[in-house]
Amino acid sequence: MKNKNLAYEDAISKLESILEELEEDGCTLDESIDKFKKGIELYNYCNNLLYKAEGEVKILLEDKEGNMLDIEFPMEG
């Protein structure tokens, strides 16, 4: 994917417009297949954003020099 920082919502709206074009069916077969490929890429990209990784929970600690450190936050139970 070229645009690594594409926001989820933007990717979704791109996907939606590809779907609309595809469903309207005014394209040549080559164009349609191109669109389909792009749609699958966007789908994978979004799916990845949702399920790629569990988010981290960290807490800030100030060390003696006054630097802020991100420390793993202990969630019991």
């Binding site: 979704i12 297949i33 789908y43 569990e54």
Partner: protein
């Protein structure tokens, strides 16, 4: 020491009271009970708490300037002195001033600050930033030990697991709280990786929520570049921070709900789009397949080999036609010929021989058709069916057959 008179004792006690550092000037917090506003203008009532009560009096000269209207059950802070009512031997609280206890002042300060900040535009809707729909990392300023942070983390993890959380631990009550909260807000705001801030705490008394009614906190929230959700106390608690924040959540859990989307509905939507994608391309491919089949049929139809076959068949048909025509023509001719032959047969003199007629010819082989052509004693031939007779003419009678009758 001999016995004292009652009045002497009361007078002594009164003097002890009045010379006491504490009793001679003090404030007492309590609830009004048995309130009586005497026609003389003096007020008599008890101040009480869960464990005890004190008889109290407020003279007309003091209560004339009261700002609050006293009533049964009201909680007040009264200032005055303790003295003895010698006639009854009762000690009483002589009240000079009254103010509504605690809450009243806090509410007044709250309302004043709210009005001031509102007039400065700190609550204006047009200054509120949009809350991102899918924050990657949320910064939270709150106590690291309270229920609030647990609730927020639990809800965020349940609704949207990929979201990162960074906690700035802060006091949320007490005199140091506003300063710490502001420091945390500014720190998180300065980081580039935080795209939403939540600050708040669980429920508590109005005094405990005080830090979120602090002017410094309000101004700090207003100055943030990062969108912020406030989540202080319960649904019914409104703080200044709530009015300044870009979004007010009724509770910390609700703040988490508002901060992140629900991954299930996102996923449903995404899978739905995926299905549409597959269905769409299959439909397009199907249409093209139909078109290709159609073209293929057309191509077969116009294939020269097939055309050749057609032509050959055409040729065969023509040949058949030709044959038929020739035959028909031949048959026509044949039957015509038959007819002609019949006509010819009718005219054939030889046929007359069959019927018993004979043909007369002279020596030269000429037909003799009339007696005029014959002379007496001429030698003639008679041609019969099965031979010829040579004879001599013996007589000649002129006249036709008709004449004989």
């Amino acid at each position: 020491m001999g016995p004292l008179k009652v009045s002497e004792v009361n007078n002594y006690i009164k003097r002890v009271f009045l010379s006491d550092m504490i009793l001679s000037s003090l404030s007492i917090e309590g609830e009004i009970s048995n309130f009586k506003h005497h026609y003389s203008g003096h007020m008599y009532f008890n101040l009480k708490d869960e464990k005890g009560k004190i008889k109290s009096v407020m003279f007309k000269s003091d209560n004339e300037n009261l700002k609050v209207k006293l009533e049964e059950g009201m909680k007040i802070i009264a200032t005055g002195y303790i003295s003895l009512y010698e006639k009854e031997g009762d000690y009483q609280f002589y009240i000079r001033h009254i103010k509504e206890s605690g809450l009243g002042d806090l509410y007044r300060e709250f309302e004043e600050l709210k009005k001031k900040l509102e007039s400065e535009g700190l609550f204006s809707e047009s200054n509120k930033k949009k809350i991102p729909t899918m924050p990657k990392k949320i910064g939270i300023v709150t106590s690291s030990t309270g229920a609030a942070i647990r609730d927020i983390i639990t809800v965020i993890k349940r609704r949207f697991p990929p979201c990162n959380i960074l906690i700035y631990p802060s006091l949320v009550q007490g005199p140091q709280a506003p300063k710490e909260i502001c420091k945390g807000l500014k720190y998180l705001d300065s980081r580039q990786d935080i795209d939403l801030i939540i600050t708040g705490r669980g429920g508590g008394s109005i005094e405990e929520l005080f830090a979120f009614n602090d002017e410094y906190v309000a101004r700090t929230i207003y100055d943030l570049e990062t969108p912020i959700i406030s989540a202080v106390g319960h649904e019914t608690d409104f703080t200044i921070a709530d009015f300044v924040a870009d979004l007010r959540a009724p509770t910390p859990s609700a703040a988490a709900e508002l901060a992140v989307p629900n991954i299930c509905s996102l996923n449903n939507d995404l899978q739905n789009k995926y299905n549409r994608l597959i269905k769409g391309i299959l439909q397009i491919l199907g249409q093209h397949k139909v078109r290709i089949n159609h073209l293929n049929k057309n191509l077969k139809f116009f294939n020269p080999v097939n055309q050749l076959k057609d032509k050959r068949q055409e040729l065969d048909n023509l040949f058949k036609d030709l044959n038929y025509l020739v035959e028909k023509n031949f048959m026509n001719r044949k039957s015509q010929l038959g007819t002609l032959k019949n006509s010819l047969d009718l005219l054939n003199p030889l046929l007359a021989l069959d019927r018993g007629y004979g043909i007369l010819m002279n020596k030269d082989g000429k037909l003799i058709k009339s007696v005029e052509n014959i002379v007496l004693n001429e030698e003639i031939d008679i041609l019969l069916k099965d031979g010829q007779i040579n004879t001599i003419v013996k007589a000649i009678d002129k006249g036709g057959l008709a004449d004989e009758e």
